[in-house]
Amino acid sequence: MRELTYVEAIREGLNQAMAADPRVFLIGEDVGVYGGAFGASAGLHQQYGAGRVVDTPISEAGIAGACVGAALTGMRPVGEIQFMDFITISMEQLVLQAAKIRYMFGGKATVPMVLRTPGGSGTGAAAQHSESLENWFVHIPGLKVVMPSTPYDAKGLLLAAIDDDNPVIFVEHKLLYKTKGPVPEEPYRLPLGQTDVKRVGKHLTVVATSIMVPRALQAAEQLAAEGIELEVVDPRTLSPLDEGPIVQSVIKTGRLMVVHEAHKNGGFGGEIVGRVAESEAFDYLEAPVKRLCGLDVPIPYNRTLEAAAVPQVADIVREARALVK
């Protein structure tokens, strides 16, 4: 199959959604002529015009609100927040409006919007451009949270998110944008809320999200040589979570490690551990669980410190080995 990068897959998804449905439009800072800070909308402005690829002032509350209002009145907006950090400015609109409107109105309204935003560190942009805040959104009923880890997943989940009648926070990763993988040309949908087992194994269940999925797969490659078989499980949709495959995997392996880039404290890893510890898999756990996550430190600028602040392949290898022993 043809290979695309993650960002190309997203761009193709956006393009196909816009071509198929006049209700879909893009809005955000520099999504037009500039093509988006990371190129996700490159060329779409030329193709669809400024009316459907809307460049905004620096107004993150306004961007989120623009999506809410358009979604409430029959459109299917796809907003972009340039860096996930800036979504801190959109929180009121996302959490108190987008997420709650349907319920507060007795189920009589829908808010079919997608808010795309790149999270993660690794680009040397330091503490205010490297956030991984997905668990904030997981905590809010009414929102869906999607975090693709491959080009294939990115396109399929994006198209499904745009189809979805609920507000979806779609978290991309800056370091994944240039990664390559097979992507079908035609539009296809990967249903939201389906956990994906990315590698089958038997000694340890590794639940990983976003960039930690390829890192876990690399680690699994290395460990396979030592006879340690990791099962790498990618929730893809963090909320609502499809926990079945995670629980099943832990029942099989008896061991659990959660790997994510976000800070450990108060992070999504706790949710995964909570789900497993409350489930029938509890009785199968043969060892304490492990959360291998970002350190609880603002992302430092210095390159070495920056890398040390979040899990790398070697960390996953080391910790997985320790857990299995």
Binding site: G62, G65, A66, A70, G74, L96, Q97
Partner: protein, 344 residues
């Protein structure tokens, strides 16, 4: 060398529009006597609704809090009169009036919502601060000050992209005009010339914060200067004046000429919410404004005899009593359905 912005906002300091400073207007011919009476009754229904709401609260028959707009009815009804069916409304926490003034609104469904019943507009999930009627393009009250303003940008964009000639009425208070949301929204609406009318109901206070302390400009409408849009200040206790100002603004919006900031100067007679001791204002100030009761004022414009005026008010009370009866007979939401309607 430096170009200095002449601070006209302060320089041309105009007498603040107050209820007493402005003469009441003639009845718009397009209303006729019938239409005018209808609007008088609408104001009376709002007043009756809120007086009943107060009573129910004091009897412990509703819980939570509420924000009464008693004294501000002319602003709600005058504004809604300038819109037409199919237009949109984004409303505030002090929104009973606008909701009742809106197209197709049914007072018993509002009362049922207020009383938390399954038959209410929001099936009892929303309550006073979240009443919506999406079928009629009433996109809801909002518990967040200026929470509707960013949303108005999206509604405006949606209208433009769908190519209709709808208009979105977006209401907020003087306090709302000091939020970041106000700024981002008005700027976006202005640069894209969106069909939105921003109605700021300046009732002199944001909770306990006097408008005079929260702004260093005499009129909220002066803020329009920062966005290159027209700003208008109008006597908000004069239903016809509000209507006229809003008509202009709506016409501009519908013609694709962009947003207008309309400041409706009015006053809330009651405390901010149910827990307000009102230490921040005097009884005399309240009384002065009460003398400008927008309902009585319009009654005078209509030259109604006391008896006729009272008959209309009795009619309004009757509507409200029926609404209470309806609501009391309505079922509570079922606990088993608590998780319904989070996701579509």
């Amino acid at each position: 060398m430096a170009t200095r912005t002449k601070n006209t906002a302060t320089a041309n300091r105009q007498p603040r529009a107050t209820a007493s400073a402005v003469r009441t207007a003639a009845i718009p011919t397009e209303w006729g006597q019938t239409g005018a009476i209808e609007r008088l009754r609408k104001m009376m229904v709002i007043r009756a609704f809120e007086e009943k709401a107060e009573e129910l609260f004091s009897l412990g028959r509703v819980h939570g809090t509420m924000h009464l707009s008693i004294g501000q009815e002319a602003s709600a009804v005058g504004a809604a009169s300038a819109l037409r069916e199919g237009d949109y409304l984004l409303n505030t926490h002090r929104g009973h009036g606008h909701c009742l003034a809106w197209f197709g609104s049914e007072v018993q469904l509002m009362m049922a919502e207020f009383m938390g019943k399954e038959t209410g507009y929001c099936r009892g999930r929303g309550g006073s601060m979240h009443i919506a009627n999406v079928d009629a393009n009433n996109l809801g009250a909002n518990g967040i000050v200026a929470g509707g303003l960013p949303i108005s940008v999206g509604v405006g964009l949606s209208i433009k992209q769908r190519g209709t000639d709808q208009v979105c009425l977006t209401v907020f208070g003087d306090g709302g005009a000091n939020t970041g949301a106000f700024h981002e929204a008005l700027n976006m609406a202005s640069i894209w010339q969106l069909p939105v009318v921003y109605l700021c109901e300046n009732n002199q206070y944001a909770m306990s914060m006097p408008m005079k302390k929260a702004f260093n400009i005499p009129r909220v409408a002066d803020r329009a200067l920062g966005y290159g849009i027209p700003g208008v200040t109008v006597d908000g206790n004069d239903i016809v004046a509000v209507y006229r100002a809003m008509q202009d603004a709506v016409a501009r919006a519908r013609a694709g000429e962009g947003p207008t900031l309309v400041e409706s100067v009015t006053y809330r007679w009651r405390g901010h919410s149910k827990s307000d001791k009102q230490a921040y204002r005097t009884r005399d100030e309240v009384k002065e404004w009460q003398a400008q009761d927008p309902i009585r004022r319009f009654g005078r414009v209509l030259k109604l005899a006391e008896a006729e005026f009272d008959a209309h008010r009795a009619w309004a009370d009757q509507r409200i009593n029926e609404a209470v009866t309806f609501s009391e007979a309505s079922a509570e939401p079922k606990i088993e359905q608590i998780l319904e309607g989070i996701y579509a």
